[in-house]
């Protein structure tokens, strides 16, 4: 077939669902109007480890409106079949109300079901739970580690020993919480043995699978619906206990039940980016050519599940060096299980590696960009594969030019603006976008409109819009005549909405389905004696605004509408698929970026404020420029939070999270965010996938924190190896 003209892809369009959102018509998980719904409020453990010795529900049950209190003494036993999918880490997942054990502070221990939310809330405060409490272990330094995950190439110990320049650096990174604006919520309704849930999730298929295994139901008996998600940042990548609680309570009550987590419950009812202790030793020659790196990483996980993330990969592939050794230890603690958060693994690894590179550059008196160029690998040294596209040199040069890097004085403490010391810093960024199989379905109706469907999610990146753009161009329709539907497990399955893969994998499946439908229509036309296109080579036909015509001769053609109507067809339909990353891999495939920032530091008062920031990204083709900017600027804001503010604080005496609110867990506010700018290098990655995109949502947080720390060093001469960077560091 002839390549389709690209009218929608690449155009700076506004969100197709924007009006629904700003007029309040977009329905989020808790807002679905389900008839007869009851309200449930979870009672969470007020101890960090131990056993429940008694539960007194009398006062709660006596409160008007309270119908039932469900807890481990009266809850039915649930099958909880093994489910290695659904992003469940290895281990034994938390089973709600199945025993008297408390594994972490805030664990659900009971649920109060009532006719109104207010009655359920008050009822929950009246439930008296007593515990036999033990002191939980929640400190990373005190945990007993498991067997580390290791990686080695060359002889890192020897490489380090023989290096002319050696550094031994220790980093600490705080626990972060995703804190999406919309709280997690579930409405569950049973119809006989069939379960429907309206859920805030980044993966309807994952939640469907989890519920089918928890309750031992066939997959087709569980339907998960999630048309709008108010932010996720990773928190919705697995099915959390509250979703099971809603389903369990609905089954017990024989009525639909709604559970909405409070902001406080979001800190232990969903996951988090684990804290890290990270030691990096590196050796280089006097020109800064790396000889070896030794990484020792300790990260939080729970006592019952072993959470792992891609913390190791950047250290293996990003810079050229003969010797690498890594040990990644998951430290079991009496906490709930972590989960991916924006830029998972890479956002932490980049803080360490990119801070260390800056430190090395400073020590050798080499420009930080020049040092990076000296260590740019020709291929992926972890597997010997060629890169698909790796335009880091261009990221550096464009960034340096646009940011004015040549105005940076490499001497720390050399630039002042009143009480502010001013500094510039940069860092490189990399992310490994997922490429898992996905499916989609497209139906072109005889009225010339089309509907595309996939079980994906739009948590904010603009899936509705970008997939419509892909479908519109592939079908040769206008944006207005194409509808994209998502967020329903009845639609063709897709992988999780995360890992920067939705545009790639769902987009490729949509493209495939649309190409098939367009192909069917073209075939129909060129074989139809009554069509003006009869006898034309199929490869010479293109479709534009719903009209098929000969390429280069727009007068010879006809509309989909006419073609289908004349042939008495109500519609054309096709399933599309993306098969996943090629096996075996032919290329090493990553998104790249370079982040530049200027900070002001009032070192007397311990204040760090961002003055401006630029990200330059090599992320393949940009389908939707406005949405890309929304991702990139949002990711930078997240990175600023990680660098300066975000820190989940645990009281190690009892495992309580002491800042479980948005008043106490600080995220940036508008006043913290200055001029941010993103540049996307032109071109596509033809080896990545049929669309040539690499994914942008994750990498935009990577590199921000080290660029900030490096700028702080340039401003003050103070090297800070702990996140977040707060006033204490300067006092």
């Amino acid at each position: 077939m002839s390549p389709q003209p690209q009218a929608a892809v690449g155009a700076p369009l506004s969100r197709v669902d924007g009006r629904l959102k700003v007029t309040g018509q977009a329905r989020y998980a808790a807002e679905h109007d389900v008839k007869g719904v009851l309200h449930a409020v979870i009672v969470d453990s007020s101890v960090g480890l131990g056993r429940i010795t008694s539960i007194d529900t009398d006062a709660a049950l006596a409160h008007p409106g309270v119908l039932r209190v469900i807890h481990h003494r009266n809850a039915p036993k649930l099958p909880y079949l093994d489910n290695p999918g659904s992003n469940n880490p290895q281990g034994r997942r938390l089973r709600v109300f199945q025993d008297d054990k408390v594994l972490f502070h805030g664990q659900p221990v009971a649920v109060v079901v009532a006719t109104t939310l207010e009655a359920a809330q008050h009822g929950a405060s009246l439930v008296e739970v007593r515990y036999d409490a033990k002191k939980p272990s929640t400190e990373l330094a005190e945990a007993k580690p498991d067997e580390p995950t290791r990686y080695a190439r060359g002889d890192a110990a020897a490489g380090l020993r023989d290096a002319a320049v050696r550094m031994d650096l220790t980093y600490r990174m705080a626990r972060n919480h995703q804190n999406p604006m919309e709280p997690h919520a579930t409405i569950a309704r049973w119809n006989g043995d069939k379960l429907t849930v309206w859920d805030k999730t980044q993966w309807v298929v994952g939640t469907q699978t989890e519920l089918s295994t928890v309750f031992d139901l066939p997959m087709k008996s569980v339907r998960v619906i999630s048309p709008f998600v108010g932010g996720g940042f990773g928190s919705g990548l697995r099915c959390w206990p509250h979703t099971v609680v809603a389903a369990l309570a609905a089954r017990e009550m024989k009525r639909p039940v709604k559970v909405v987590l409070t902001r406080r419950q979001m800190y232990f009812g969903t996951g988090f980016r684990p804290s890290y202790d990270y030691r990096l030793r590196l050796g280089s020659d006097r020109r800064g050519r790396l000889a070896a790196m030794v990484h020792e990483m300790d990260a939080e996980t729970s006592s019952y599940e072993k959470f792992e993330e891609a913390i190791m990969l950047a250290g293996q592939m990003f810079y050229s060096m003969p010797n690498v050794s890594q040990a990644y230890r998951k430290m079991p603690l009496d906490v709930n299980t972590p989960l991916y958060m924006r830029g998972p693994g890479f956002a932490n690894a980049s803080f360490v590696i990119e801070s260390a590179m800056d430190e090395l550059a400073n020590r050798l008196g080499v420009d930080p960009i020049e040092l990076r160029l000296r260590n740019e690998p020709a291929e992926d040294e972890s597997n010997g594969l060629p890169w698909s596209t790796r335009k880091l040199r261009e990221c550096y040069s464009v960034g340096a030019r646009e940011f004015g890097w040549d105005r940076r004085n490499p001497e720390p403490r050399s630039t002042r603006d009143g009480d502010w010391l001013v500094g510039m810093g940069m860092a490189a960024a990399v992310y490994d976008p997922g490429r898992f199989p996905a499916q989609a379905r497209v139906r072109l109706d005889a009225d010339g409109t089309a509907v595309a469907e996939a079980a994906t999610i739009d948590m904010g990146p603009g899936t509705y819009t970008s997939q419509t753009q892909v479908a519109a161009d592939a079908l040769g329709l206008t944006m207005r005549t194409v509808t994209f539907r998502l967020g329903d497990s009845l639609y063709p399955p897709t992988p999780p909405h995360g890992g920067s893969m939705t545009m790639t994998v769902v987009g490729s499946a949509v493209l495939d389905a649309c190409n098939k439908v367009r192909g069917q229509a073209i075939k129909l036309a060129v074989e139809d004696e009554e069509s003006p296109l009869y006898g034309v080579e199929a490869g010479d036909v293109v479709v534009r605004a719903g009209r098929l015509h000969v390429q280069g001769n727009p007068t010879r053609g006809e509309t989909y509408q006419r073609l289908l109507t004349r042939n008495e067809l109500t519609h054309l339909e096709a399933d599309g698929a993306y098969a996943g990353a090629p096996e075996p891999a032919r290329h090493s495939y990553f998104s790249y970026g370079a982040v530049f920032t200027e900070v002001g530091v009032d070192a007397t008062l311990g204040l760090v404020r961002v003055r401006r920031m630029l990200g330059v990204y090599d992320v393949g083709r940009i389908v939707s420029p406005k949405l890309a900017d929304s991702q990139a600027l949002g990711g930078m804001v997240g990175g600023i939070g990680q660098a300066l503010l975000e820190h989940t604080v645990t009281d190690h005496r009892d495992g309580r999270i002491v800042n479980a609110s948005l008043a106490d867990y600080l995220v940036p506010v508008n006043a913290d965010i200055p001029d941010l700018r993103a540049i996307y290098l032109e071109g596509e990655d033809p080896d990545a996938d049929p669309l040539g995109v690499k994914g942008i949502g994750e990498i935009v947080q990577v590199g921000v924190a080290p660029a900030m720390a490096n700028a702080v060093h340039n401003a003050t001469g103070r090297r800070i190896r702990e996140l977040p960077i707060t006033a204490e560091a300067f006092i």
């Binding site: 405060s125 008062l605 503010l645 309580r656 800042n659 506010v669």
Partner: protein, 326 residues
């Protein structure tokens, strides 16, 4: 939230009547409603006083200013007389909370607001302020934002208000109306240090109503300002803050009013700093020497050991800013 009843007082008499019978006054509700949602506060009766005629800012005969208890934070900050006479009040308010909260919250409510100590706000934690005798979880818990001055073994929570720091510096007076009539309290006597009874935070009797805060007349010209040091640029409580007012005539500091926030269990007046300033000529050395006394008597906790030094630097900086020397 626990069940409660709600009434609206149409005049002061009605309010006092309801107050005498155990009603809790509510105006902007920006603190109280939050705390009720967390079940930290469990009032049985709320008496809405937002309709009472306490919304006026006016000059007093002596040349001071009387701010009605129901004037909002935003109105106070924007008031021409406040801006002209006491910039420190406007600045402290504008650096507080968010625009939305400042539009709702009143001056009376602001000085009645309760601590941000997270253990106080978590009903499953031990807190002598919330539940006398249960202990203080913050003392050996996470206490980065807690007080270093005026603390006791029973409580180390800070008073969160910014404008109260300005009021403390300026030696404001709180006007109260109760069943037994009117009375006035010096600001220093209005807010109570925790001692062994941290649950008692203000010297307000049951049923008493704050009617106004009065700022005394101060010699002119008076330069004043507020500095707030905090982790993020907006919508965050102070790690440290300083309210400074200086009357400088003939090149000599004749009067100095200085108080600090974010560090005390109550807004922390700094008389030793003030004494060091009075009679001296402004200079960088003077600011440093005076500010060096700001943390006298500080008892830092495990996670806020940085606060005494930060406090000194904050006071020094603000003395310089207000005093006008480099």
């Amino acid at each position: 939230m626990h069940p409660f009843s709600y009434t609206r007082a149409s005049d002061t008499r009605e309010a006092l009547d309801a107050g005498r019978h155990g009603g809790r006054y509510i105006a902007g509700g920006t603190t109280l409603v939050d705390l009720m949602r967390e079940t930290v506060e469990r009032p049985e009766t709320l008496v809405d006083i937002s309709g009472l005629p306490l919304r006026e800012v006016r000059a007093t005969q002596g040349g001071g200013l009387r701010i009605g208890a129901l004037v909002t934070m935003a109105e106070t900050a924007a008031h021409p007389k406040v801006r002209a006479l006491y910039p420190v009040i406007s600045e402290s308010l504008e650096l507080s909370a968010s625009a939305q909260l400042r539009n709702m919250a009143t001056i009376g409510g602001n000085i009645m607001q309760r601590t941000r100590c997270t253990y106080f706000r978590d009903v499953t934690a031990d807190c002598n302020k919330r539940e006398p005798g249960s202990g203080c979880a913050a003392l050996k818990g996470h206490n980065r934002t807690h007080a270093i001055l005026g603390t006791s073994d029973a409580c180390v929570a800070t008073h969160p208000s910014d404008v109260a720091v300005a009021f403390a510096a300026l030696e404001a007076t709180v006007h109260l109306l109760g069943p037994d009539g009117e009375r006035r309290l010096r600001f220093a006597d209005f807010l109570l240090r925790p001692g062994s009874t941290p649950n008692r935070e203000q010297a307000v009797r049951q049923g008493e109503l704050i009617t106004a805060v009065e700022i005394p007349a101060l010699p002119r010209p008076l330069r004043s300002g507020y500095l707030k040091v905090r982790d993020r640029q907006s919508y965050e409580f102070a790690l440290t803050s300083a309210a400074v007012a200086l009357h400088i005539r003939g090149g000599v500091i004749r009067e100095a009013k200085v108080a600090a926030g974010g560090v005390g269990t109550v807004p922390w007046k700094l008389p030793a700093v003030e004494r060091h300033l009075v009679g001296e000529r402004p200079s960088a050395a003077l600011w440093t020497a005076a500010a060096d006394k700001a943390a006298d008597g500080a008892r830092p906790l495990q996670h806020n050991r940085f606060k005494p030094e930060l406090l000194k630097r904050t006071v020094e900086r603000q003395l310089r800013v207000v005093g006008g020397t480099k």
